[in-house]
């Protein structure tokens, strides 16, 4: 969408965006030749169309947040659906295996042992657990539905 100042035959430049209410989106454009201003007003349906496209009239002034459209448009979301990564808890990059956990892992058939170890290790990293113990394995097994592994 472009706005052309017919008088000057120049494209009007985006100047300002407002949401004045009633579902209206107002975008103000200015002619760089004669400084004439015009406001484009969208009705609520048109505003929703733009929002559903996930674009911003006038361009983005701040970086897009992940899943921005979903967050801003979806109704009936869970109260605690998005949580911040806990900055106080440094990410666990290496998981130590306690000898008892190693012993238990040894009872897993050898042809799947590597895969099972990786699943437990990934779970521990995701949950900030630095040492794998039989108790941690029980928690992981329960959460991951790995009964029997």
């Amino acid at each position: 969408m472009k706005f052309l100042c017919v008088e000057c035959d120049r494209v009007m430049a985006f100047a300002e965006r407002q949401i004045p209410g009633d579902g209206t989106l107002a975008a103000v454009f200015t002619c760089p030749g004669c400084n004439r201003e015009m406001a484009m007003l969208t009705n609520p349906m048109e505003t929703q169309l733009v929002s559903s496209l996930g674009v911003q009239i006038g361009g983005r002034t701040v970086p897009e947040q992940p899943m921005e459209m979903t967050r801003s448009s979806l109704q009936d979301t869970r109260a605690d659906v998005f949580v911040e990564q806990d900055p106080a808890a440094p990410p666990v990059t290496r998981v130590e295996w306690h000898p008892e956990a190693v012993d238990r892992l040894g009872r897993v058939p050898s042809f799947v042992r590597g895969m099972v170890k990786r699943i437990y290790t990934d779970w521990a990293k995701e949950n900030g657990v630095a040492t794998m113990t039989p108790e941690v394995m029980d928690r992981a097994r329960s959460e991951l539905g790995l009964e029997g592994m």
Partner: protein, 297 residues
């Protein structure tokens, strides 16, 4: 009459860069998928054929073979993958690289509307009443786009995408992901299912999507003693294969234990390898692996 220039003749941008914003969305999908070995669309066109159960069980079967697997529930109106993979209601963590998927059964990374909405909430939008027909499809496509591009899938060998019923939903996925590495077309022996799924087969063929394999679900009934009995008369899946030239990659009998296990959030493909249904899904996983050999992330 004054001569006014056309849109194309006016080169100066107004500052909105709408086209660049849309192209940027597409680029983010490509960037995210670059770290994924293979994308596998599980489609049918028909509802109630067991796409989600096949997806959940196939995902865990692949993961149990050591693969890194993600499962994206594209069924926004009737999400079930979160529940089937045991993660419904778990919070989503905002990470540096996007929203982190939740780890479900068998270590599968999951994203589903199950995780976002209250249990009994229908899919609704913060929007004015009455004009939904004009923008609802756009909004749903937007969510699917964000599930693909804004979820920190990380390095995966396989991303399975459970596509809801309706050929239009297959088209919607192909708009965002024109060339899935593999497409599994789920059907049943019922003639009415064959009739509907044939439309999806034609849609995929016309879109140039390949390879496509038929997964014949509920081909028989496994009773509580493990005996296999016919469930439907006729064989719509084989008829579909003959009609379309597509190959049947798996025949999965109906097993009540499969339903029970997936309801519990613990797909049984990894627990009950004695079951003919589990064996069929594991065999399908091996077929998928062979087909994608060398594509691992």
């Amino acid at each position: 009459m004054r001569k006014i220039r056309t849109y194309g003749q006016v080169e100066h941008e107004t500052g909105s860069h709408i086209l660049e914003q849309v192209l940027g969305q597409r680029a983010r999908i490509d960037q995210r998928l670059a770290s994924i070995g293979a994308t596998i669309a599980i489609v049918s066109g028909k509802g109630g054929v067991g796409k989600s159960a096949i997806t959940a069980n196939l995902a865990t079967a692949l993961a149990s073979g050591g693969a890194r697997v993600g499962a994206l529930d594209a069924d926004l109106n009737g999400p079930s993958l979160g529940r089937m993979l045991g993660v419904a209601g778990k919070p989503l963590v905002d990470g540096d690289d996007g929203v982190q998927p939740v780890t479900g059964a068998g270590g599968v990374s999951v994203m589903s509307m199950d995780l976002l909405q209250e249990d009994d909430a229908p899919l609704r939008w913060r929007a004015p009443d009455g004009d939904g027909f004009t923008w609802r499809g756009l909004a749903e496509t937007g969510v699917l786009r964000e599930f693909l591009s804004d979820v920190a899938w990380g390095e995966l060998d396989y991303l399975l995408i459970d596509v809801p019923p309706g050929t239009d939903r297959i088209s919607r996925l192909l708009d965002l992901l024109p060339a899935p590495s593999q497409t599994l077309l789920v059907t049943t022996p019922a003639e009415i299912t064959r009739f509907v799924v044939a439309k999806s087969a034609r849609l995929l063929r016309d879109a140039g999507v390949a390879p496509v394999g038929i997964v014949a679900n509920m081909t028989a009934y496994v009773d509580h003693e493990g005996a296999t009995r016919p469930l439907f008369e006729g064989d719509g899946a084989q008829a579909l294969a003959a009609e379309t030239g597509l190959e049947v990659w798996a025949e999965v009998p109906f097993d009540p234990a499969l339903g029970t296990a997936t309801d519990r959030g613990s797909p049984f493909a990894i627990h009950d390898d004695a079951s003919p249904a589990a064996a069929a899904i594991v065999a399908l996983a091996h077929r998928v692996e062979r087909q994608n050999h060398g594509r691992h992330a």
